[in-house]
């Protein structure tokens, strides 16, 4: 094959890729500007009674809040870290603490061997009523490098110690792997709901309509999604 043919083929492939990317981008752009169409899209989505949250985290916020925000995450995921530090607190201030929404965290630990271990540790902390404190501790000390040792067994113990937890009880819980099945159940639940990255969010309204989106998205996206559901 001569050089001209190689260059021509490369160019055609590039043009096709761009055309596909641009058409997808354009259709989403148009959709964003057409709010009515977007609201219709939300309304058309069916309820998701199949999301099983019984193995997830304890509820953060009021149990009777009309909106449920489900976060699928991995403690070693860097994007989850960015979402935790840039978006979550505003969401808590404006929707969780005002009683409009509640948050449930469901583990999708896939990034390394320390991911399921950290998830199990969070439930061992729940035994001592420190789930959300431990959750915060994990996302505070995450260094963005999976399996670098930041969430190894010693560090998990030190986090428990820092939170004034009973470290012996925490150790027994970790040694027994009593929450391994719970973490696996959460993983399976995420896969069942077609979650393919972390963080992924499913917002469930009181009438059962749902909206799912992925990534460490800014607060404005959450507000724009939740407000029409209230």
């Amino acid at each position: 094959m001569n050089k001209r043919a190689i260059v021509s083929i490369t160019f055609v492939v590039l043009v096709v890729v761009v055309a596909i990317s641009f058409s997808s981008y354009q259709s989403n752009l148009l959709e964003m500007h057409d709010k009515t169409k977007y609201l219709e899209k939300i309304a058309a989505k069916t309820a998701s009674p199949l999301i099983n949250l019984e193995n997830g985290s304890p509820v953060l916020g009021s149990h009777v809040a009309p909106i449920t925000i489900v976060e699928f995450g991995d403690y070693q995921c860097e994007a989850c870290y960015y979402w935790f530090h840039n978006t979550r607190s505003t969401l808590i201030d404006n929707y969780i603490e005002t009683g409009k929404a509640k948050l449930v965290f469901v583990d999708l630990p896939f990034l390394g061997r320390d991911s399921p271990r950290a998830a199990q540790a969070s439930y061992c902390a729940e035994d001592q009523e420190k789930y959300w404190e431990y959750h915060t501790m994990l996302y505070t000390f995450q260094d963005g490098h999976p399996d670098s040792g930041w969430a190894d067994r010693d560090r998990l113990n030190s986090f428990a110690f820092s939170l004034d937890m009973n470290v012996d009880e925490f150790n027994d819980c970790m040694d027994s792997s009593k929450y391994a099945k719970r973490v696996k159940a959460n993983y399976d639940e995420a896969v069942k709901n077609d979650v393919q990255q972390t963080p992924t969010f499913i917002i469930i309204s009181q009438d059962g309509t749902t909206e799912k989106f992925a990534g460490a998205q800014p607060y404005s996206v959450f507000a724009a999604t939740i407000e029409p559901m209230l």
């Binding site: 050089k3 001209r4 190689i6 260059v7 490369t10 160019f11 590039l14 043009v15 890729v17 761009v18 990317s21 641009f22 997808s24 981008y25 989403n28 752009l29 964003m32 977007y38 991995d74 995921c77 860097e78 994007a79 989850c80 960015y82 530090h85 840039n86 896939f110 990034l111 390394g112 963005g144 490098h145 999976p146 399996d147 670098s148 393919q196 990255q197 972390t198 963080p199 909206e211 989106f213 992925a214 990534g215 460490a216 998205q217 800014p218 404005s220 996206v221 724009a224 999604t225």
Partner: protein, 143 residues
């Protein structure tokens, strides 16, 4: 035209995979303060690829020269594109779910060394740019 095409082809997918550009539920561009370095690097890599690849295509078509340099620029672009994008995203999830521990180690490497790998990619593209400029000057004089 080709340069714009290459820039768009690289910048938009990289922005989506690096979670700077979101298309669902709304199209929104979002760069948090602590990820500015990463954003600057993917912008620079897309820009350099958009300059270097068309220059080499010009060399191949007009001057009928070898394809070695375009190979270098494509390798540079691929290194820059693959670094860091595999961490928590759908590509990483698919790879790790399918290939297990080995894939996990590979994606961890790409995540851990995102910035150095992108700097290497940028360096490679700058090197190809420099050598291409030199060879075009010499080849054009010769012809």
């Amino acid at each position: 035209m080709l340069a714009v095409t290459i820039f768009v082809c690289m910048f938009i997918p990289l922005s989506i995979l690096s979670e700077f550009l979101f298309i669902e539920p709304f199209v929104i561009f979002h760069v948090v303060e602590d990820r500015i370095a990463s954003f600057v690097l993917i912008t620079s890599i897309s820009l350099m690829s958009a300059i270097v690849i068309p220059m080499n295509i010009y060399r191949i078509i007009t001057l009928q020269k070898s394809t070695t340099k375009i190979g270098g620029s494509i390798v540079g672009s691929i290194i820059g594109a693959s670094a860091g994008i595999c961490s928590c995203g759908p590509i990483g999830f698919s790879i790790i779910s399918t290939f297990g521990t080995v894939a996990g180690t590979t994606t961890a490497f790409l995540t851990n060394y995102e910035i150095p790998l992108r700097l290497v990619s940028l360096g490679l593209l700058c090197l190809v740019y420099y050598t291409t400029i030199r060879s075009i000057s010499v080849e054009c004089k010769t012809q």
